[in-house]
């Protein structure tokens, strides 16, 4: 397959970026999107040019490192996958593909398509945990948890922190990310104990970092590679409201 690629290139955070056009030919339909970029980079190295920087690591859809905004969609034109799981067979031969970095004020660009998502770590740091130290905890089966609640917690916990929700949201809101963590702990008795403090601290941090406000457009849910649902945002709202009025 042959493609025309329009790729955002940017030296560093301060510099002004631009789109560069690359032609690539003979791409296997079975190769992944990142393997296609590997091929392009190989060609750039052959020409002694600087390859395109992009974040990636596990290449099996779980580490959350990769994330490109491809033809107007985070992680590209397929549902419930990360960029590394996107395969070229999802495109048509001869397509022009526009590749952009995640765009949000809290995600400054480091280089080319690499953005700094430390903001998401900072939100977790503010309260995305259960405050137990190592050792001295009760037996694992001491607290039974209904399968239903454990399953909901697991649904929420499957967030990989890739930031596609922020990238997809027209407001660059991180509500789906935050709600996934809040929701996971809200559904578990262990997590209830500091639920109120947790939700307040995480929301405050999220606001402080400059993410936008949720307007329930649902783009995050549509693009989440782990299909995390808007119901978690509703639960976050409930948790927040309950924490504030009590």
């Amino acid at each position: 397959m042959d493609f025309t690629l329009r790729i955002w290139r940017q030296e560093n955070e301060q510099s002004k970026g631009r789109f560069e056009i690359y032609k690539i030919t003979n791409v296997s339909a079975d190769s992944s999107f990142l393997e296609m970029l590997d091929l392009l980079n190989q060609q750039l190295v052959d020409k002694f040019e600087m390859p395109i920087c992009f974040d990636h690591d596990c290449r099996e859809g779980i580490c959350g490192a990769c994330g490109l905004y491809i033809n107007g969609r985070p992680h590209g034109p397929d549902d419930a996958i990360t960029t590394c799981q996107l395969h070229m067979r999802k495109f048509k031969d001869g397509d022009t593909i526009v590749i952009e970095p995640w765009r949000a004020r809290p995600f400054p660009i480091i280089k080319d398509l690499v953005v700094d998502r430390t903001a998401l770590d900072k939100i977790i740091e503010a309260g995305g945990y259960i405050s137990v130290n190592t050792g001295g905890v009760p037996d694992a089966n001491e607290i039974p948890i209904s399968k239903k609640n454990a399953d909901i917690a697991m649904d929420a916990a499957s967030c990989i922190g890739c930031g596609a929700c922020v990238a997809a949201c027209k407001n660059a809101s991180a509500m789906l990310f935050v709600s996934a963590k809040i929701s996971q702990f809200a559904m578990l008795p262990q997590g209830r104990i500091e639920a109120k403090e947790r939700v307040k601290r995480m929301i405050d941090k999220m606001d402080e970092l400059g993410f936008g406000n949720c307007t329930n457009t649902g783009a995050c849910e549509a693009e989440c590679p782990k299909e995390i649902s808007l119901t978690h945002i509703a639960r976050l709202n409930r948790e927040y409201f309950a924490a504030k009025i009590s």
């Binding site: 190295v45 580490c63 977790i124 190592t134 499957s158």
Partner: protein, 646 residues
Amino acid sequence: MAILNSKIPEGPLEQKWNNYKANQKLVNPANKRKLDVIVVGTGLAGASASASLGELGFNVKTFCYQDSPRRAHSIAAQGGINAAKNYQNDGDSIYRLFYDTIKGGDYRAREANVYRLAEVSNLIIDQCVAQGVPFAREYGGLLDNRSFGGALVSRTFYARGQTGQQLLLGVYSALMRQVNKGSVKLYTRHEMLNLVVIEGKARGIITRDLKTGKIERHFGHAVVIATGGYGNAFFLSTNAMGSNGSAVWQIYKKGAYFANPSFVQIHPTCIPVHGDFQSKLTLMSESLRNDGRIWVPGKKEDAEAIRNGKLKPTEIAEEDRDYYLERRYPAFGNLVPRDVASRAAKERCDAGYGVGTGLAVYLDFADAIKRQGKDVVEQRYGNLFQMYEKITDENPYETPMMIYPAIHYTMGGIWVDYELMTTIPGLYAIGEANFSDHGANRLGASALMQGLADGYFILPYTVQNYLSDEILVPRMSTDLPEFKEAEDEVIGRINRLMNIRGKESVDSFHRRFGLKLWDAVGMARNKEVLTKVIEDFKQMRKEFWKNIRIPGEQADMNPELEKAGRVADFIEIGELMARDALDREESCGGHFREEHQTDEGEALRNDKKFMYASAWEYKGEDKSPILHKEDLIYENIKVQTRNYKK
């Protein structure tokens, strides 16, 4: 050998760890604040160690090459984590987990370490549940278990097909809590490039900031390496693209011994290689072998017809299928340990019965779907099936999956004593980075167990035994000549790399090297090939340093430079792997020497001569390393031939 002191505590096996803890030295809280501990790596081992040490009050500095600690490759573990809880009342116990692990490792692991691992396994599950890890549960609200290869009990705890993710996010949350408290300082996008040794003790590291290329010096009273395995040496593996062996290789070069480098695990259920553009292999969880049945066509002509696309697997009649694992190993069937399953697949494919490209076998769920319904199968493995479909464009509910073995894990690693300390005082290696617990083959769901055991429940104790003697050592200045020297080494090497300006890209070289390594030190090894490949690797190393091409600048984000440094180390690691494989004139676990097999093609151990862990000592560039042997003594377990047939 007197030089290797494994420091196994006195007393009966069950009492060793308790005795150790009862008699070890501790550091008082006021002194902990004055002690700096460097932890490199934020996988299960590194993050749990950082969090636990932070909670204890040490001043921890934690490094990872990823943009966030949450991305460490522990996250990709799918199947589960073992513990001897015996919640299923199926006869499990600490002893049985210990026994299975030693046996699974083909009697090449250290008894005392493995027993301790089994002992603390139960604490891990408690800890994770308390942290909010959403393990799978039964309708009654209690924890569910599944079975895994190499065991006759159900002792594996899991969170769908994402157990590693959930455990890692658990330790990540504990870590971030300590970051918030200020007891852990986090350095993301930092790669360790050298170890600083002062007066024989590990005192710090040199790192490169991957964002800016800045070289930095960091001091620590102790240094903990938790950087995982070196499986990426093979280029194609199930490891993450960034996983590397560089940290362990640097400490090896500074004097830490490297143990059992040839012991690598080849995982039987990976998606087969399908093109030369491929950058990595994807694992399909071993848990699939609970319900999936592995087979190839029983007739060669059928296999050929399938390979040529003339026949579909679903068209092969039941009696024409060869469920070779069930045939060869009736007792364990599809749940034999990984090394056995991998070799059996290779045997069938080499004999001409492979499907797909010829290097693939079927993993079939048709029976499971018929027996339990599609819903149940979907609930158990839905995400894995989806992943498979995304990659291969085939629907595993309708046609059997194709799988083939791939490099997955390295049992070998830095030699450590019972305290997890390397041969350099003050330098520790934990998790996959060390060699201690899995012998020649790791059982499924044991890597997560070991990572968390080391980080949560072992290192935080043992490191105090060392640090208690360091309380009077003030924080050292990083202006000391030893720091400068280590930094100069790093800068010199980077400059050398940048100035090669040759013709070949790092990836292209790595791919060639990896294939060669796979052919020589992969699933089957022999003397002739190994002897030759050692020389080849020496040549390749020279070639690398003459012909590699790295565009861009040093003082900038430069992935090509990062990869070049790692590949340079992989070449040397590969050479050591081959040496070790050559030395070990026996077949055991993942190490299969073609000269040493039974008439039935099973691995043939030689306990008389090789019941030891090899520990290699670096002697300098272009000098052969020296082999030290730690004899393995089994006092509590009867050493026998592994038998998964009955």
